[in-house]
């Protein structure tokens, strides 16, 4: 339980850090380009519905440009972008019969963007916390006394791997994406368990930069 609380505090403070802004306009613009937010449908096994919001920050970016010649189009530039991104997320999903899961995590993503705007995402989330808040629960003590607690939960350390695709968009919604998360739940009974999540969402940039 203590570990769970410590992990939560670390993750939340990291999210707050991502929101910090610099004073100068130059820095603001710099940050505006590097800081994005995302919101998505987050479905465990695809169909147990949930929502996720997150912030992501580009920590490394490399653009490869090649000048190409075309008979009809003439000379044009092809750009491929490779990025490493850190992201903090918060969300929930609902398993209607059993529990509501609330989770937060920190992930490192590699994103490749093609010249046409297609994106491929690969990532790992070494720090994740998943909590199941159970529906109607009754606690039975060793001496057989039954109580109905107001809230009953179990916490899991939940690292995950992420793979996905997406495409850039030319407005405030900067891209759409479709990710699959394979998340482990530790400890789960006497071992480990996993959940697979289908995530469909948008990235957007909400920071206005003064010119």
């Amino acid at each position: 339980m203590k570990t769970a609380i410590i992990i939560s505090i670390i993750l939340l403070s990291f999210n707050i850090q991502l929101h910090a802004q610099s004073d100068t306009i130059k820095q603001q613009k710099f940050q505006s380009e590097k800081l994005n937010f995302n919101a998505s449908y987050y479905g465990e096994t695809g169909w147990y519905p949930g929502l996720k919001i997150g912030a992501e920050y580009i920590i490394f970016e490399k653009k490869k440009q090649k000048i190409k010649h075309h008979k009809k189009k003439g000379e044009f530039t092809k750009t491929k972008t490779n990025q490493f991104i850190i992201t903090g997320n918060l969300g929930f999903y609902w398993q209607p019969h059993n529990y509501t899961s609330v989770f937060t995590n920190f992930a490192i993503l590699y994103r490749h963007t093609t010249n046409k705007g297609f994106q491929y995402n690969f990532g790992i989330s070494p720090l994740g916390l998943n909590s199941f808040f159970f529906n109607e629960t009754y606690t039975v003590s060793d001496n057989g006394e039954v109580k109905k607690p107001f809230l009953s939960a179990r916490f899991f350390y939940s690292p995950s791997i992420i793979v996905g695709i997406g495409h850039t968009m030319k407005h405030k919604l900067t891209a759409w994406f479709l990710n699959i998360h394979l998340t482990s739940l530790l400890p789960y009974n006497n071992a480990v368990n996993f959940s697979a999540v289908l995530e469909l969402g948008f990235r957007f940039n909400i920071i206005k930069v003064k010119k």
Binding site: N98, N135, E136, N189, A191
Partner: protein
């Protein structure tokens, strides 16, 4: 002000109308029992108006309670409340404990904890019956050996109170059925191959792999028996595939099944409650399929002979394999109603 009062009154009325009657004839409750570092869901469906509840103990280990919400069991919901429990380590159960902590004794305590919760929620005057299928037969036997006082009756369906002796019993039963089917001209090549496999396993003796081979062969054999119309027709059986897919997470339940099955693998060689069955004195009904090749009916006869109850019934299903509640679901339902009405 008047409009606001009417609006508030309407909202209160609406919520009152939505409030579930705890013992209606259409119970659809899901509750979680938290006991000794585990959270175990119990799904309660059916008619609660007569206060007769049947707790289903699934097979496996690693099966799911809701797997049994089909056929003759689901049909019983019209008359009784059926409690489909996910056992410790199975289905959607969660928890944090070590492997050696999981024993039939602890899992029996879990069932008795569920009983306490049911009485807390629905009242102390419940008529409780316990039904165990396959591995659930072993677990149910252990529950009753721990405390049988809460129950009005025990129903064992193709159960496994003596898994230690199972391997040898199967090496006798497989050739009997194989020879019978060869004489009848049914799937002759398959049954000849079964005889060859059994001869090999007799020489090898018991190993975990051989046990698995026999178990797989049993389910495979049931398919052949069904195709040859030896087993009952499951057509018309009540089943809701969408509910099955939606009610519990397939990934989580599948992985839990593998884990608990591995953790409890020792039961196949170590557990035998035969000598203790005489301590079970509540009314009991033992139901078995003639063609059960997972747990042959010899084990059922052994349970019937050894149970200490003076009111005990033997029901034999001539056209059933390991799951009489599906192969002969109408007969299963009739026998269940007869037993429960006589003992509630």
């Amino acid at each position: 002000m008047k409009n606001i009062t009417i609006l508030l009154f309407s909202i209160i009325l609406l919520f009152s109308a939505c409030e579930k009657d705890d013992l209606s004839n259409t119970l659809e409750d899901v509750l979680t029992v938290k006991y000794k570092n585990a959270e175990m869901p119990a799904y309660i469906y059916g008619n609660g108006s007569k206060k007769t509840f049947i707790i289903i103990l699934n097979g496996g280990p690693g099966g799911k309670g809701l797997e049994y919400r089909v056929g003759g069991v689901k049909d019983l919901e019209k008359k009784y409340a059926i409690v489909y429990m996910d056992q410790r380590g199975s289905g959607m159960s969660t928890g944090n404990y070590s492997g050696p902590e999981i024993t039939p004794a602890l899992m029996a305590e879990d069932v008795l904890a569920l009983v306490k919760v049911l009485k807390y929620k629905y009242g102390n005057d419940l008529n409780l019956f316990l039904l165990g299928h396959s591995w659930g037969g072993l677990l149910g036997s252990k529950v009753l050996l721990t405390d049988q006082t809460p129950f009005k009756g025990w129903i064992e369906v193709d159960g496994g109170h003596n898994l230690k002796g199972l391997y040898d019993d199967l090496l006798v039963r497989f050739p009997e059925i194989a020879d019978e089917q060869i004489v009848a001209g049914n799937s002759v090549d398959f049954w000849k191959s079964v005889n060859s496999t059994i001869n090999r396993l007799k020489k090898d003796g018991y190993t975990d792999d051989n046990g698995t081979t026999l178990n797989e062969l049993a389910y495979n054999s049931e398919e052949y028996l069904r195709n040859d119309s030896v087993l009952g027709d499951q057509a018309g059986m009540s089943i809701n595939l969408m509910n099955y897919l939606y009610e519990e997470s397939l990934i989580i339940t599948s992985i839990s099944a593998i884990t608990i099955n591995t953790t409890l693998s020792y039961i196949w060689t170590e557990i035998d409650y035969t000598k203790e069955l005489s301590k079970i004195t509540i009314p009991s009904m033992i139901m078995w399929g003639k063609y059960d090749l997972v747990i042959p009916y010899k084990q059922g006869e052994e349970a019937y002979d050894n149970i200490g109850s003076t009111k005990k019934t033997w029901v034999f299903f001539e056209s059933s394999g390991h799951s009489a509640m599906m192969d002969e679901y109408k007969k299963f339902e009739q026998e269940m109603i007869k037993f429960i009405e006589a003992n509630k």
